[in-house]
Amino acid sequence: MSTHTETHDEHAHGGVAIYTRTLIALLILTAVTVGAAYINLGSGNIVIALFIATIKAILVALFFMHLRWDRPMNGLIAMAGFVFLGIFIGFCLLDFSSRNAFLPTNLHHTEVPLAPGSAPQAYTVPVPEPAAAGAPAAAPAAEKK
């Protein structure tokens, strides 16, 4: 029986009190994040929202998912998931945020490559305005930021 007693010692953690406190913290953070959404901070809003979400996720992982008391390997695996996801997001962003927008200088000569049957505005290639020759008013998607 000794092994299992140890097992339970090792798993003897948490408890209703800790879980309740965790829940209260999570609910408060939810209220905070909803409240923050009503203040316009520009691009700061998304940063704050994701920051709070991450705190909430960490709380869930540490207490509800017992990582605080668990074998470190389990936490490491979960972190690895996030690290590889970070790599994925990071390099995609690197590409998307540093693309050059190539535009033909004499755009007015180009027919808009609209394939037959496609919906209007089907392409992000700008529709050249006949009057504004050489002035690409609407930039293609690559230039949108």
Binding site: H4, T7, Y19, T33, A37, L50, F64, R71, F84, A119
Partner: protein, 232 residues
């Protein structure tokens, strides 16, 4: 040869006590503890795959948001904030009841285990009901994914960014919803087993694993909520 053999009982050596006959003990594990740890390790690996599975959608969302920032902000106005917030609270509470169910199973409180599992299922159902109202509203208004998008009256209606936002909205909340439905199914299965008294302090692995699954579903919603309902 580099190895020798020592004599070990085929069903494991140390700590091999009364519960060596535990019907849940699989032959290739030495101890129940090893079996429990292995199962949990496997579950965490599965969780990592879930993170990356949803992660792909988050990356797609992020890149398209980068491409259509104005359209995404405008499209998100069509989501009802309080409904999202309500669902967040419901899921947080369900996570709480889930962790209590695990705790009860671990401490041999059968009735409480069943009760908390039932509460978790109820919360999950509330979540789905709210989701149903959200979805049906969007169906009525024509805020549908991709080429099915046919809303009228938006300032940039018909533009790609708009339809793309709802594509992602339906894909991500839909995949999350599928996880909730699967969750309800396995929670029910666990509940029935708990009712039969199959779990005890020596064997509660399924409750623990389902708990982990349920928390990761909650955690994904924690990210979905601000991304969809609160962006500016």
């Amino acid at each position: 040869m580099s190895t020798t053999s020592i004599d070990l009982p085929s069903h494991g050596g140390h700590g091999h006590g009364a519960h060596g006959d535990d019907p849940h003990h699989q032959h290739h594990f030495t101890t129940m503890e090893q079996q429990f740890d292995t199962a949990k390790l496997g579950m965490w690996l599965f969780i990592a795959t879930e993170i990356l599975l949803f992660g792909g959608l988050f990356v797609g969302f992020g890149m398209m948001q980068n491409r259509y920032p104005r359209e995404f902000v405008e499209a998100h106005e069509h989501l009802v904030r309080w409904q999202g917030a309500l669902n967040t609270v419901v899921l947080l509470i369900s996570s709480f009841t889930m962790v209590l169910a695990v705790e009860s199973a671990k401490t041999n409180k059968r009735a409480k285990t069943v009760g908390f599992l039932a509460l978790t299922i109820v919360c999950a159902c509330i979540f789905l009901v709210v989701k149903y109202f959200e979805y049906s509203h969007k169906f009525e208004e024509g805020w549908l994914p991709g080429k099915y998008y046919h809303a009228v009256g938006d300032s940039i209606a018909g533009s790609h960014g708009y339809a793309t936002f709802f594509s992602f909205y339906f894909m991500m909340t839909g995949l999350h919803g599928i996880h909730i439905v699967v969750g309800i199914a396995i929670l029910t299965w666990i509940l029935l087993r708990a009712k039969k008294g199959e779990f005890s302090s020596t064997y509660y692995t399924p409750v623990e694993l389902v708990g982990l699954y349920w928390h990761i579903v909650d955690m994904i919603w924690i990210y979905l909520f601000p991304l969809y309902y609160l962006i500016q």
